[in-house]
Amino acid sequence: MQAKPRVVAKEQKSKFAGLPICSFAYWLPASLFLSLFFFYPLFRILALSLDASVLTAENLSRAFYVLRFTLYQASLSTLLTFLLGLPAAVLFARFEFRGKSLLRALTAIPFMLPTVVVAAGFNALLGPRGWLSFLFPLSSFQFTGTLTAILIAHVFYNTTIVIRIVGNALAHLDPRLEQAARILGADSRRVWRDVTLPLLRGPMLAAGLLVFLFDFTSFGVVLLLGGPQFSTLEVEIYIQALQFLDLPMAALLSLIQLLCTLIFSILYSRVVTRTSVPLTPKPSIALPPKTVREKIFAASFLFLLSLFFVLPLLSLPLRSITRLEADRGERASVQYGLTGGYYAELFVNRRGSIFYVPPIEAARNSLVYAAATVVLSLALGFPVASALARPGRLERLLDPLLMLPLGASAVTLGIGFIVAFPRILASPWLVPLAHTIIALPFVIRALQPAIASIPDRLRHAAATLGASPFRVWRTVDWPILSRAILAAATFAFTVSLGEFSAAALLTRPDYPTLPVAISRFLSQPGGLNYGQAMAMSTILMLVTLIGILLIEKLRLPGAGEF
């Protein structure tokens, strides 16, 4: 009887502490899941549609043309995302200021907003009737249909990835390394160049890979904001597969996209040296900016981030309570009036439609799917991240494969599902499964550096001091892990709320989520429909904001309470 608790504790240790009992066991759940729900449908659809006849010079040059633009815009977008994201990560990791957690949560919201809504937000700001042209009437600023629109939207969407992954690593970076450098004569610029940035290489590459893959497989942004002049691989796959019904061409493009993703992932795992940087369990304390330079930095980036994130986001709620009583057709004067009518209308089933959904139910559907996605992706992702933290041959081999879901065409996967699982296709439970496929790479990439960074020294020290394995885990692993788990959960949550791959799946019109409800309103003419779409978008934003804030407040005891 006495021996029993010890055994349990031991198991717990090996599971959580990441000591490799048999690394295959860590891989099993996630590999089964991905094999069944990702590789199998993908294989089925590619096998069904690939055809040698598609390999004509004309098709290949078309594919090359699209690939070139896809790579070009993705590289540029990633670069710009880091230009804004890195200083923002520093701001959040190093400085304390009022409204910090709110701003941090706000930067995560775009990640889950449907592209239609983001487009509407930017249009309300930068469009022909937006505030910009209201403030500067002479500026004839063309936003939609430009490369600038694609780039800005990508930065808007993905900055949160950099903030979360790099910011989290930065907050846990052993502060004495920078102090050592300062004492050795490095001014703050050189501390950054010679110590901090090199130490953040792993997290930065991880974030960079994620951002790049998202930009690389960008669909909605290019389609809606970029317009017909621009075409990425994913847009082209969509057109070929679902509009022209040219499956062989779509399969060829999907294969190119998959191969590129694989190459990037392999390059990534080659480049990232496995010596992970030691992190400390307690995050370094963020202090209010003190010196003049710190104050200028903090103030200017606070201003920039607020401008970039708050204004477009704010334009939606504003629009949702504003009625534009225009002399229709006049290009200038629009009179604004306040109204709560759009929200009231949300609760009315005016058409008596069977598919009408009250906003609360749509929000509930969204939240149930999101919660299921968080649980599922954490449960599958944690063991894999633990195995990756102590990589062996198996890990090096499988690691790049894990990123494939991010680079696989959602359209191709969606039709793969139809071929592979016609029987369960109508089940509403397929939705969180599909979301988990996309969320899993995020969860793993967010957890792995944290697990790898837990110094064995610390753990051994605690163990020799007589701590039970569970206590070791509680006092050493958990404080470091909890923040990473939080980041991972936030990603999974927002991935699900944003319905990444849902477009390619079948939907049950009687279980609509918030994004589905929004697109329904936007699919018909009429001021009331447009206003309701804005109101529903505002509700989606609020739900996400509250969700993110809750997840961050949920910091379980012992985590980040220093």
């Binding site: 487009a119 249909g145 057709g329 439609s353 019109p509 697109s519 699919s523 001021g527």
Partner: protein, 364 residues
């Protein structure tokens, strides 16, 4: 004049006696045997549609009750996506009935052999012009006209005459005033391209588009952007006073106005061939195990309760001439007298080539 004609037609239709077949489908008292029989477990029927499908709760409930059928709907994306998903799953059908293939995709659907023929008795009420499949694998349900909508106030204010033909649109006074959708990604965009092909012929339409392009044509990928971002007549208050949308859009602007209106703010350009007629079809999916229930549902879609429910749910027009349209449709919509059409076979044979030619001429 046109409106008067339509009104007369509808009045006539309202006075005409109801067909018995119709009552068998919807009215419970007309099916005494079903009501008297012990209540069996309802048959389940799965109906695949595109995302725009909608139906009134009460109308569907009446059907379900009368026939002891539970209907589940699946939405498969836009028209093209939904059809492609049905074609892909043809060996293990996802549903029993598929609604939503239109005349631009019809040949593709029929070639793929996804439908079983069904000669519905309700077809008697459908005009021959809609019945494009002689074998009745795909049965017409509704139609709609893709037209150029214009912002009335803009033209009144600036004292510019509203264009009446496709040819007018390349005149300099309309420079930069028209937004259209990309035919490669948008169904109304494709329909408008087909209208120009029908009008100018497959040899000459490209020349027309090149001139449109030179005249400041704005192309976007989807209807939502075109209508809400680019069109000045919508709540988005965009920069272009003309957009490719539907003939019914002006009525929707009134019905879903955020403040009461007595006149639609927009209207359609109704010249010869300026509109393209889209007809949507329903069919029973080959290999269904629920043939009987599927037949009942198809009959139901062609019956008056559904045909009359449809206009306000989906802003399309019923193929049953006897169906009475909502008042707003008579008040705020004008219908094209001469919509452009092309045969489904011709569309299926040339669609990709035309879109590719268009892309080269307009976008590159």
């Amino acid at each position: 004049m046109k409106r008067f004609l339509l009104l007369a037609l509808v009045l006539l239709a309202a006075c005409a006696p109801q067909t018995p077949a119709l009552e068998a489908v919807v009215a419970p008292e007309a099916t005494p045997t079903a009501a008297a029989a012990p209540i069996a477990a309802p048959a389940t029927l799965t109906v695949m549609t595109h995302d725009s499908f909608a139906i009134s709760e009460s109308v569907l409930a009446a059907f379900e009750q009368a026939n002891n059928i539970d209907v589940t709907f699946l939405a498969g994306g836009d028209t093209g996506s939904a059809l492609n998903k049905v074609i892909l799953s043809k060996d293990a059908p996802l549903a029993d009935v598929f609604y939503g293939v239109d005349n631009t995709f019809l040949s593709r659907a029929l070639e793929a052999g996804i439908f079983e023929p069904y000669e519905s008795p309700m077809l008697a009420n459908v005009s021959a012009e809609f019945r494009l499949d002689p074998q009745n694998r795909a049965l017409p349900v509704d139609y709609g006209d893709v037209c150029i909508n214009y912002d009335k106030a803009f033209f009144a204010k600036n004292d510019i005459p509203v264009p009446t033909t496709l040819g007018d649109l390349i005149r300099p006074e309309y420079y930069g005033l028209l937004a259209v959708e990309n035919p490669a990604t948008s169904s109304p965009g494709l329909a408008f391209l087909l209208a120009t092909i029908a009008h100018f012929g497959p040899e000459n339409y490209i020349g027309y588009w090149k001139e449109l392009r030179a005249n400041g044509l704005v192309v976007v990928n989807d209807w939502e952007t075109a209508y809400y971002t680019n069109f000045s007549g919508s709540s988005g208050h965009g920069p272009q006073p003309m957009v490719v949308s539907y003939a019914t859009s002006p009525a929707a602007e009134v019905i879903y106005a955020d403040h009461p209106m007595d006149e639609a703010p927009t209207a359609s350009v109704l010249g010869p061939d300026t509109c393209f007629r889209q007809i949507e079809f329903v069919g029973i999916l080959a290999g269904t195990a629920n043939r009987a229930a599927a037949e009942k549902f198809v009959d139901f879609m062609l019956s008056l309760p559904f045909q009359e429910d449809m206009p306000l749910q989906m802003f399309v027009l019923p193929v049953d001439e006897q169906a009475i349209l909502p008042d707003s449709f008579y008040q705020f919509i004008e219908f094209p007298s001469q919509p452009a059409t092309l045969s489904p076979d011709e569309i299926a044979a040339n669609r990709e080539r035309w879109v590719e030619e268009w892309t080269q001429a307009v976008l590159r």
